[in-house]
Symmetry: C2
Subunit: 252 residues, 2 copies
């Protein structure tokens, strides 16, 4: 069974589950893979706030608890649809907690999967623009993983990154406040930031916050490939759970 | 925590969870209610096939197992986004299994909630058209519940019901095979059936199969109110879990 740690945010969790279904070769209900999603957002401190030292509470412990709960009802492979959780100060603690608890779950690393995806699908790309939370950018989540593959990760400059942060978090127009559908203001800010990343040399853009695909659904922007990290994670989860059911072509 | 028995079908489970989020008054991740969804479709026989005697395996036992699993990770109030499961030959066994297992979960009855909704929101309506699976119609799922409230439930005639069945189940154009988005063929068949129900005297139409709101998202059709049973269930779950968080106006 595939386990999904939802709630980070809630709609991003749903988006991953939808993409797991979309990427599964299925014609009847019974063809679909077993999936459990736990969305318990109130108990998980904001990941970016932790990375920016605005809270001392590491969300890792709660995330590890949720993974253990998913395991208790049968999950064997788990995905966390939140890029910021993959920052080493958080993810390392999740992994340590799981090891200490004797967990045998296979946790899929979303950022590593994105690196493999770019290497396989876009082999000429060497510089990747990252649209993500300020926490993901400052913690170098993509930079750290990409370096080992000879890929460069570029984030927006400070002013442009503030616009991206607002597009995600603003209590009026941000995606976490309004995502069904996302506001035009959030979408436009993200498109401007994508253009800014291209000007900084990005040959591909990663949607590196799981809220962003709720506003940007294009697979390319003016010829630049757009990589949806949520969809890449969905495909990795299906591949691990039942490789024969992975759709040949990405769905959507 | 709200528990959702997903997988009946998979996208209908997701649709309920999305509507739980939509009906919650929330501006940040942390404002959202805890929700667990278990989608294990392969182990649950088709509900209509059981009601039509095409299989002896009552899906009730597996549904009760899943509710127990949701309870084991903290669910206290549970919804089953599948109208056909609410047929007494299935639901009565679910309830008996839960009682025998000592479950203390509060299971929300979707059809009763729809009856209350119509009584409160559409008090002049006396005859309700039901767009549902053949199993739901033949088992009189809505008829049985509505009678106690003085409401009449009308289903399509046999030929029109066959078209509804195909819109849900057809392996090429049916919603269970293709729901992201649903096909125009499925949508048109359902709209024709809705018109047929109006001709049979329906003053409101219930989308009484949780696949149907994936194809019909209108809140009225040519002036006739359309009641989405999934959204009614979502609101009932939020109300039970945290009444102060229920949105005043239905979202969408």
């Amino acid at each position: 069974m595939i386990g999904v740690v939802g709630g980070l945010g809630p709609y991003a969790g749903l988006d991953l589950v939808r993409k797991i279904f979309d990427e599964t070769d299925a014609r009847t209900d019974q063809d679909h893979l077993p999936v459990a999603m736990l969305s318990v957002p109130a108990s998980i401190p904001d990941r970016t706030e932790f990375l920016l030292d605005k809270t001392d509470v590491n969300p890792a412990h709660r995330v590890a608890d949720l993974i253990r709960q998913l395991e208790s009802i049968g999950a064997t492979v788990v995905g966390i649809p939140c890029n910021t959780v993959h920052a080493p100060p958080i993810l390392d603690i999740v992994l340590a907690d799981l090891a200490e608890a004797g967990s045998t779950v296979k946790l899929i690393h979303m950022i590593t999967e994105v690196k493999h995806w770019i290497e396989e699908e876009h082999p000429v790309v060497k510089t990747v623009g990252v649209l993500a939370t300020t926490g993901t950018c400052l913690a170098g989540v993509y930079k750290g993983v990409f370096e080992s593959g000879g890929l460069a990760a570029v984030c927006p400059d400070e002013a442009a990154q503030q616009d991206v942060h607002d597009a995600i978090y603003d209590p009026a127009h941000g995606i976490k406040a309004q995502s069904g559908p996302a506001t035009e203001q959030a979408r436009k800010a993200l498109l401007r930031a994508a253009q800014h990343l291209r000007e900084r040399g990005a040959e591909a853009i990663v949607l590196g916050c799981t809220e962003i695909p709720l506003a940007i659904t294009e697979s390319e922007l003016e010829g630049t490939p757009v990589i949806d990290a949520t969809r890449v994670l969905a495909r990795a989860l299906v591949r691990e759970a039942a490789p024969e059911k992975l759709r040949a072509e990405p769905g959507g």
